[in-house]
Symmetry: C2
Subunit: 526 residues, 2 copies
Amino acid sequence: MAISNKIENFRMEVNRAFLTKAQDLAPALIEREVRPAGTVDIVPSGEDYTARPAQSGFTRSRPMGRGDRLCLDFGGHQVGYVSFTLTPVGSPPDAPAYLRLKFGEIPYELAADLSEYQGEVSRSWFQEELIHVDVVPAQVRLPRRYAFRYLEVTVLDTSPKYRVELGGVVCTAVTSGDRAAVPPLKTRDPELAALDRVSLKTMEDCMQSVFEDGPKRDRRLWLGDLRLQAQANYVTFRNNDLVKRCLYLFAALTQNEGRVGACLFLEPAPQVDDTALFDYSLFFVSCLYDYYEATGDRETLAELFPTAERQLELALRELDGRGIVTDRDTWWCFLDWGEGLNKQAGAQAILIYTLKQARTMAEWLGEAERAAEYAADIQRASQAALDHLWDGGRGFFVSGAQRQVSWASQVWFVLARVLRREDNVCLLERLMAENPGVPMVTPYMYHHFIQALMESGLTERAVSAMKGYWGEMLREGADTFWELFDPRDRYASPYGSRAVNSFCHAWSSTPSYFIRKYLNFSSNSL
Amino acid sequence: MAISNKIENFRMEVNRAFLTKAQDLAPALIEREVRPAGTVDIVPSGEDYTARPAQSGFTRSRPMGRGDRLCLDFGGHQVGYVSFTLTPVGSPPDAPAYLRLKFGEIPYELAADLSEYQGEVSRSWFQEELIHVDVVPAQVRLPRRYAFRYLEVTVLDTSPKYRVELGGVVCTAVTSGDRAAVPPLKTRDPELAALDRVSLKTMEDCMQSVFEDGPKRDRRLWLGDLRLQAQANYVTFRNNDLVKRCLYLFAALTQNEGRVGACLFLEPAPQVDDTALFDYSLFFVSCLYDYYEATGDRETLAELFPTAERQLELALRELDGRGIVTDRDTWWCFLDWGEGLNKQAGAQAILIYTLKQARTMAEWLGEAERAAEYAADIQRASQAALDHLWDGGRGFFVSGAQRQVSWASQVWFVLARVLRREDNVCLLERLMAENPGVPMVTPYMYHHFIQALMESGLTERAVSAMKGYWGEMLREGADTFWELFDPRDRYASPYGSRAVNSFCHAWSSTPSYFIRKYLNFSSNSL
């Protein structure tokens, strides 16, 4: 996710003991050497570009001089560090070699003219380097980490007296996700297997020192994204300590009043961002709930439950006299990208959803009194929602002063289980049949829609929606799942250029979660 | 110098013992921290650009975001390594800082649009870097060495959430020239004092691991340039071991048949270039002669004399039946830049000049028989020159089939002392009065002209010419003397852009030599 929402008079509150625990859980990264599978030509293809295979395998380039170019294909998405050798051909090199290196997750990034970029997201995220190699021959080790499949090398200049051969190109890919820990997949459905494979690769490439958001452009730890990654992790890589580390980081580094931030930075030192989002803070509750459910780690549950409770206290303060979360004009709650989406109803549903998880955690911890208090909060917030956000005439939950109907609001109310199960089924079917109001935009929101279908027993619809949405990315050639995909507007970007979109994004990696949690049996029935 | 002249079937012959001696003489570099004197604005000024002072002193920039720019003035020419700090202002940095750094010896380099450059010299010499700083705050240490006075920093982007302050900017300047070793100047002539000061700075910035040609663009050791640097060194920095090191490097690493190359590279390992120049190879003789004259180091003279002799053997093979050096169509002899200069007469003169030095060295070494042989060679080559290259009717030496008259030919025949002293005086006066044929272009050729005037007793003309030529660079604002300066065409470049010209160039640093050798007495008479 990439978002700006600065809180006033921001300060960070640090719990040293929690921070130490988090730091002690820092993972050792697994390294794997990946060599180019071959060379490609990036050529126009409709509105987009495609990588046309040129040569299979790659050992060493022809001698390259001023203006010569080469595009390497690493055969799939990589996150890591690239090194190569430059060998001179001709006279002793009498000038530095000057190279441009462009890394792309997709062909478009190599073809796009980035000089005109004026978007909000920093142009520093374009993975392009201009480097001088003073002494040739050289072993060049690029110090920065890249997320890419394609690497275009252009020799901007050598000198009239020599050219260079590029060889020994290797990417040292890094991850904290151990493939050996992933249980074998049982389903024989090839489409599900493909979705699972690409999900796993997406997860693997986002699993680093923390669960990163998108390894190309947003290396932070975002709480909403963590929640989905952790859910997928429990049924795949099972690096539960990495989840624990992230939970302790969020609990260790809070904003004013103990609010859990929307995201954290790890460098130069662990630091909570000054962005606050209503839903993301509450998802600390969910993450802790899911973690305990997956691990049974009672010590962590007990230690971090107060942090979870604090998020609910802060959220409950936002209820108006009717018991409805107060709407705001700012970007105060995420839910989904999407022009004009009103967040009030979704926020209300997420509050109820997390209150329910808190009630259960209180029970797990034997805190009956707290559980009863949460039950009262749930009752009040749910009744208020039914009284003020449910539009019986339209058969949908509405949000904000304009009484907006959106997919996000319905989906979250299904997940919050405010209506009876059979009414949720009807709500979802009505939603799909009528397709009213503001649609879903991100894979993140699609995840919640699939989850709502699954929990409502609409498994076939869920599978069909998942195959339709994520499967369409596969058909578009995705090596890893994307931050953004709108089947109605394939080349959309909220950033001003699709070249800054992230094409390996954690919140998109949940098909594995659905497949392994709900569909993992040896049958071709789905 | 920058030149291409590849020899066929090139191979390097290595004398390990000499190489070891050279490596043992590698100097420890003297480091000095230099901070910016202030900020400037680069503004158009006639056909050129100038640096208009903006702010005196510099500690820390204002917060800089996308597109903000700053130009620092280091108060004079520097050769060294730059470091600085970047401090974020605003929210925690959520994107790398992306900077463009442009280093310029002169304002023009910062203002020039280099994207259109198509010249022969490698564009890799433009001192421009695009760097991503992934983690801010940061202490940034640029790994490459730059030659510059001005540093322009442009923040290409931070992010909407933060900006950066630039501070702690320091250049660690490096040299193997110890200012404390330079004898005080006696002359009270302020113009000579200024020429001496700028010459010393030029030398200092070119004195590195070897005597470099130009620290911006040509970090090699060129033999013709070494000869002038060494002459200046003996009366200034007196780092005689550095000359000795360079002599041993040239003798250790020769081309086919033991030919001393035109230049050497030091990195990645000492290596002679495949460029051969008739005059440059012969200047090994001169360099050794001058070195012994300055130091009395008889061991080095004896050890390296065979290498000097080999250069003369190879050169004498080039004499035709008449005893004249065979002319060639290629770039076989340097003498000077300048369109259409024929090299035959100059080459003949340099052969005679170096034969005379060899004869003297043979005498110094007690090799009477060798001295007599050289005397015979001198007689034959001189008589041939008088018979075939001297045009009595025109009163000038002529060169090549077209019987070209050039300043270079006359100057070198004066230095070779083929005519009697009084005839040399007449020749020089005729040259200056008639200004015939191909003019001089480089400070390197001007040096030899001044030398010819000095040796002919035309001291006032020499001083006037020196003040006119080098003094004009001072009036143009030179901090160090330039590779190229043609008063008739001030913005000329043989490279396609003046931005690749070198503005601190060893072969231009000889005013100190003339001032200290011929003019260093306490009088205002000159």
